[in-house]
């Protein structure tokens, strides 16, 4: 290779999102929360279950969004953290009879640790190299869970069956509905936490690193700490989502957490709009419902239909649902005048 090194002043991989544009106005948020509270009272149990899954995947996409949209690091390995969270909850509940609600913080903390540790070697990598490293994590995880050494706890290839919790205090609601409201409460709490995190000093540091790492370090930001912190937080939230997912699906097995899950989460983030937190839930709806719709249109060609739908979405709105929300906001603004 030539001795002359290339010099590039590249645009950052993730474009800058203004801080204000990352969240919803309080009025819109109020309406959405109200809808989320009321709708389950009028629909069937299966739809309630799907809404629960929507919130759970939404959390996982949100976590990825903090990592990629916030700190500009790309990950295909979040399915691994999801798996760790799911297994932590399942093992604590089934093998040690610990209350399901208490297992979630444990899952979060363990995943935070795992993410923080994984963030260390990942520090030296960026772009496609980081993608490959996280990808390796995602492919290794199902195999690690299958190892004979852990079989005592994980149940090996067969996985573990998880019992669904009943509503507490004798509340007159079905298990599904209780689990939905439980998930909703946690989702809202984590959402508020994430919004505040991105508004805080740490959040500004994340965004500075995303926009220009060299400039950020010149401004006195400890790049290594904040990058690993972003990995930790993202993994922690994914872990909680994984724990909730295990409780909702009532089953954990190594093959539920393959690279396909990581790719789904990634697609959810892109469709929702990278760096726009509310979009995470739009993206989650996309990855839950669109494959079903595709299957409904054509059984044999469901993959092709899914691909075409995905192409349509990215052709029409390359910036995901964030773009739709912005156009809507502008239209509203014009109407008011």
């Amino acid at each position: 290779m030539s001795a002359v090194e290339e010099i590039a002043s590249q645009a950052p991989a993730v474009e800058a999102v203004p801080k204000r544009a990352m969240t919803l106005s309080s009025g819109t948020a109020f309406v959405i929360v109200l809808l989320l509270l009321v709708v389950p009272l009028f629909v069937k149990n299966f739809i309630i279950f799907q809404m629960t899954m929507l919130l759970i995947y939404g959390l996982a996409v949100l976590a990825l969004n903090i990592l990629t949209g916030g700190s500009g690091q790309f990950s295909l390995g979040n399915s691994a953290f999801y798996a760790i969270g799911a297994y932590t909850s399942a093992i604590l509940m089934e093998q040690y009879n610990i209350n399901y609600a208490l297992t979630l913080p444990v899952a979060g903390v363990i995943c935070f640790g795992a993410g923080f540790l994984f963030g260390q070697p990942a520090l030296r990598l960026s772009g496609v190299y980081l993608a490959l490293a996280t990808f390796a994590l995602a492919t290794a995880m199902p195999q690690i869970l299958k190892l004979g050494f852990f079989e005592k706890w994980t149940g090996g290839v067969q996985g573990l069956v998880v019992t669904k919790p009943d509503a507490p205090f004798g509340l007159p609601m079905s298990q599904d509905m209780w689990l939905y409201y439980f998930t909703l409460a946690i989702t809202i709490a984590i959402y508020i936490f994430s919004v505040n995190l991105l508004r805080s000093r740490s959040g500004r540091a994340f965004m500075a690193i995303r926009d220009n790492e060299i400039a950020a370090s010149a401004m006195g930001i400890d790049v290594a700490t904040y990058k690993t912190l972003a990995f930790g937080v993202s993994a922690g939230i994914t872990g909680v989502a994984g724990g909730l997912g295990a409780i909702a699906v009532q089953f954990v097995a190594p093959d539920s957490y393959t690279i396909t899950l990581a790719i789904s989460l990634f697609l959810g983030m892109v469709v929702g709009g990278v760096g726009w937190l509310p979009g995470s839930f739009v993206g989650s709806a996309f990855i839950i419902f669109v494959p079903n719709i595709a299957e409904g249109i054509s059984k044999g060609l469901s993959g092709a239909v899914f691909g075409v739908l995905l192409f349509l979405v990215i052709f029409l709105v390359p910036h995901g649902s964030r773009q739709v929300a912005m156009v809507a906001q502008q239209l509203l603004g014009k109407l008011r005048k």
């Binding site: 290794a140 691909g307 995905l310």
Partner: protein, 292 residues
């Protein structure tokens, strides 16, 4: 010691597959600056086309050439129709586009040719090569073609006008435009060439892994890994990376206890990441100095 040599030889034989795929990966990375996740599926589709042509009675080499031309045109068409409109979209959106393309091609191939495993002929025969039980003549031929391709590409990029223009368009698109290079068509050309190289890889790999719509899944991952290990900017590095990954994988399977077939991939990847942590641009990649 004999076990070791044998395993290295076997590793080189499988490595040839990865090297071939890695070459296609580097090719497109040079042209468009990111990894194409649908590359393997494009190669698989081309391989099916050649199989179909042979079923209709064409001789091997005629089908081979026809498939090359088809893939070249197909690659350009995909770029013009699907990815040119996305040039201005964010990078992550384009990656989502690759995933969509993956899904479409895989599903269509499944519908046209179904998911049963098919035999694929080899022009080199499959008898032992020079008396060695580990490398068959097919694998030797595969290594030969990969190296030939590498030399050909080297001359193309170093000594032809088009090759130079393509390098310029990839390295500094704006300056290249200023000196009159049609960068948009250089990207399309890159797609076409990558698709053609991918189809060669597919046709060489098919006799080993058998032909079916999911045949490229594993191979593409190894191809990526090999390309990243060798350095994404260097075709030579990619080929060497392919052989190294093949050897690693075999040695890990032989010498580390409890490593079944399924653990081979994570271990190979872990090793590659360790290399990357020490040399972040790959073994032969150029370091890019970033400016604020």
């Amino acid at each position: 010691m004999e076990l070791f040599t044998n395993q290295v030889l076997a590793g080189i034989a499988t490595g040839a597959i990865y090297a071939c795929m890695a070459l296609a990966v580097v090719m497109i990375y040079q042209a468009i600056d990111h990894l194409n996740f649908a590359q393997g599926e494009m190669a698989m589709f081309s391989t099916f086309i050649s199989w179909q042509l042979m079923q209709w009675g064409l001789p091997y080499w005629a089908a081979f050439i026809a498939t090359l031309i088809f893939s070249f045109i197909g690659g350009i068409a995909i770029e013009r129709v699907l990815f040119k409109p996305l040039t201005k979209a964010p990078i992550l959106t384009q990656v989502a586009g690759f995933i969509a393309l993956f899904s479409i091609i895989n599903s269509c191939a499944g519908l046209i040719w179904d998911f049963t495993i098919k035999q694929y002929p080899t022009p080199f025969g499959s008898s032992p090569f020079l008396g060695s039980q580990l490398i068959s003549t097919h694998q030797a031929g595969m290594i030969g073609i990969t190296l030939l391709l590498l030399v050909g590409l080297y001359f193309f990029f170093q000594y032809t006008r088009v090759g130079l223009a393509m390098r310029a368009a990839a390295a500094l698109p704006e300056s290249a435009r200023l000196v009159g290079i049609n960068t948009s068509w250089m990207i399309a050309l890159g797609w076409g060439m990558a698709a053609a190289i991918g189809s060669i890889a597919g046709m060489l790999i098919a006799p080993v892994v058998f032909l079916e719509p999911n045949m490229m899944g594993g191979v593409l991952i190894y191809g990526f890994a090999a390309a990243v290990l060798g350095g994404l900017t260097s075709p030579f590095g990619a080929v060497l990376g392919g052989f190294l990954v093949g050897i690693f994988e075999n040695l890990a399977g032989t010498y580390i206890p409890h490593v079944g077939n399924e653990m081979k991939l994570p271990i190979a990847l872990a090793l590659i990441i360790s290399v990357l942590v020490i040399k972040p641009a790959g073994l032969f990649g150029r370091n890019i100095v970033k400016r604020v």
